[in-house]
């Protein structure tokens, strides 16, 4: 276990370093910088802008800025927003909870819906529902989130006031966005589940077991345990995506969160904030994937034979 963890830790550091560096250069390649987003728009003179740029250290050559960034990080200084001076850690801390709530809720709905649809589709039973399951999954994959969201908001908050409206506060406000986001995520989970379950159902073990007259329930159970394995990976993947991909959902539903922080920061070229988010994102992904791998090993009934 220990060498496994050690290896994973090293990988995590490597991932974080690579991702943050990629983001570092990506942002600085992008046209304009934070001062364009703010000072130039108001008509500040080139001198004033240049002075501010120097004060913020943005006029240094890239390798210098790069080195300074990592030196600061080593000292635990994650920087402050170039735009309003708030510490990056504070910005993230203030916004992590609503995103987490939304992402987890959406993941829950996605798993429940996706696995159900996928299993029904893959096992091809109950017979009547199969087409509906496949169709629903296809629908979930086939429309952009911003569209379903708009329709849902109109239908379920204006036409029929089933949910709180856009921008509401309180625990119930997470329901509609989670439903929409979860519905879309369910699509890919359902697809993969269906294919994998169908595949498992054709395996040798199943044929043998049926021939031997094993109770149906056990056979199905085995199919599922094999067939649902890839779901673990997909779920981990989707979980990571959800955390990063809530940008549009948060914007449309007027919810606070890391997605909206990212969007604003990218628009304003607020480098420290974006990089802080990328580092966080890297850590989360690595953790999720490690978890997925561990679960995989423990759950696969065939690999367990090897101890």
């Amino acid at each position: 276990m220990l060498p496994f963890l050690a290896r994973r830790a090293v990988m995590a550091l490597a991932v974080v370093w690579l991702a943050a560096s990629a983001a570092f250069f990506a942002l600085r390649w992008a046209p304009g910088d934070a001062l364009d987003a703010t000072m130039a728009r108001a008509g500040a003179s080139e001198d004033q802008i240049a002075a501010q740029r120097a004060a913020l250290g943005l006029d240094q050559p890239l390798p210098v800025q790069y080195a300074r960034y990592w030196l600061d990080v080593a000292r635990g200084r994650w920087g402050v927003s170039l735009v309003n001076g708030q510490p990056v850690t504070e910005v993230i801390a203030q916004n992590v909870r609503p995103t987490l709530t939304l992402a987890l809720a959406a993941l829950g709905i996605a798993l429940a819906l996706g696995v159900s649809l996928g299993v029904i589709d893959g096992l091809e039973r109950p017979a009547g529902l199969r087409w509906a399951a496949g169709g629903l999954a296809a629908l979930a994959l086939a429309a952009p989130v911003y569209w379903t969201a708009t329709l849902a908001i109109y239908a379920l908050t204006v036409a029929v006031a089933l949910f709180p409206g856009v921008g509401a506060e309180g625990p119930r406000a997470v329901l509609l966005p989670a439903l929409v986001l979860g519905f879309h995520t369910a699509g890919s989970i359902a697809r993969v589940t269906a294919a994998s379950v169908r595949d498992a159902a054709r395996g040798d073990f199943v044929r043998t077991a049926r021939a031997k007259g094993l109770p149906d329930r056990d056979v199905v159970d085995h199919i599922l345990r094999v067939g649902l394995l890839p779901v673990v990976s997909v779920a981990a993947l989707q979980a990571g995506f959800l955390l990063g991909g809530t940008v549009i959902t948060e914007m449309i539903f007027v919810r606070r969160g890391l997605g909206q922080v990212l969007l604003t920061a990218v628009t304003n070229r607020d480098y420290p904030v974006v990089q802080g988010l990328v580092v966080l994102s890297a850590l989360v992904y690595t953790a999720l994937n490690a978890l997925a791998d561990v679960l995989y090993q423990r759950l696969d009934p065939r690999t367990r034979r090897e101890g």
Binding site: R7, M11, A14, V15, V16, L18, A19, A22, A23, F25, A26, L27, W29, A30, P31, G134, A138, L139, L141, A142, A143, P144, V145, Y146, W147, L151, Y154, G187, S188, R191, V192, A194, A195, S196, R198, D199, L229, P230, S233, V234, L237, G240, G244, V247, I248, L262, L263, V266, V274, L277, V278, S281, A282, Y285, T286, N289, Y296, D300, R302, E306
Partner: protein, 262 residues
């Protein structure tokens, strides 16, 4: 082998959409870019089969031409994602050890960079546009596909017949291509379908966020985003491209899945 009605439907749908896209110049009734502001937001009529949008353009013609762009983008994205994704995932899953660790680290790093940041960087280097979006989305799609491939390879690798093949001394490359890949092909194909769908939708999302490029070109993603503005007074503006998009994605998914089974 049972003939799956789904395959028939998907095939029919796919062929229909492809045909309509190819024949767009013949079937269209108007220039898809021609604006006619006095005729804005008209409901479907004999002159405009699917009505007009905010700038008075014919929705029917735009939907016809829009198919070409969508297919083009989807194909490009697929190439960029599936090729490298398959390669990397298979290598990592099969070789294991430090190769696996290295490749997974690279993929995770790519995955950790939010697509928004990635898109911005690529748009900077290459300019705005649907091709650039396709590239950005394509690259962003490599890690998920690589991961799923790797997972599938790992799972297949532990199967008895693979052990058997190894025991009799078959070469690794042979094992990979002749035994493992065919086994995991269904899952991979299914996920390829999913990836393609994501690609189409993520492109639409990037367009929605403003990385679009040629905004007057007929493009289902652009039409959907614009259609939101008037969806209560003129729902057909978004409904038409929406149905087209959904039908295309549906066809892709069902074909991928059925192709896997044959």
């Amino acid at each position: 082998m049972r003939r799956n009605p789904r395959v028939a439907v998907a095939l029919a749908l796919g062929v229909l959409i492809a045909l309509l896209s190819v024949l767009a110049p013949l079937l269209a009734t108007h220039d898809p870019r021609a604006t006619s502001p006095q005729a804005q937001l008209q409901s479907p009529s004999r002159e405009h089969l699917l009505g007009t949008d905010l700038l008075g353009r014919d929705v029917y013609s735009r939907v016809l031409y829009g198919g070409r762009r969508t297919f083009g983008v989807a194909l490009l994205t697929a190439l960029i994602t599936l090729g490298p994704g398959l390669l990397i995932g298979a290598m990592a899953g099969f070789a294991g050890g430090w190769i696996d660790t290295l490749l997974m680290t690279l993929l995770d790093a790519l995955l950790a960079v939010p697509p928004l940041v990635l898109a911005l960087a690529l748009v900077t280097l290459l300019g705005s546009g649907s091709v650039q979006i396709a590239v950005a989305v394509g690259i962003a799609g490599i890690p998920p596909y690589g991961r799923v491939t790797r997972a599938a390879v790992l799972e297949a690798r532990s199967r008895p017949f693979v052990e058997a093949a190894r025991a009799i001394g078959a070469r690794p490359a042979g094992i990979l291509t002749r035994h493992i890949l065919p086994t995991i092909a269904p899952t991979l194909l299914a996920f390829a379908g999913v990836t393609l769908s994501w690609a189409i939708l993520n492109s639409a999302a990037l367009i929605f966020l403003g990385f679009g490029g040629d905004i007057s070109a007929p493009d289902w993603g652009v039409m959907l985003a614009d259609g939101r503005q008037a969806f209560r007074t003129a729902p057909w503006v978004a409904l038409a491209p929406g149905v087209a998009l959904s039908a295309t994605v549906l066809a892709i998914n069902w074909l991928a899945e059925s192709g896997a089974r044959d």
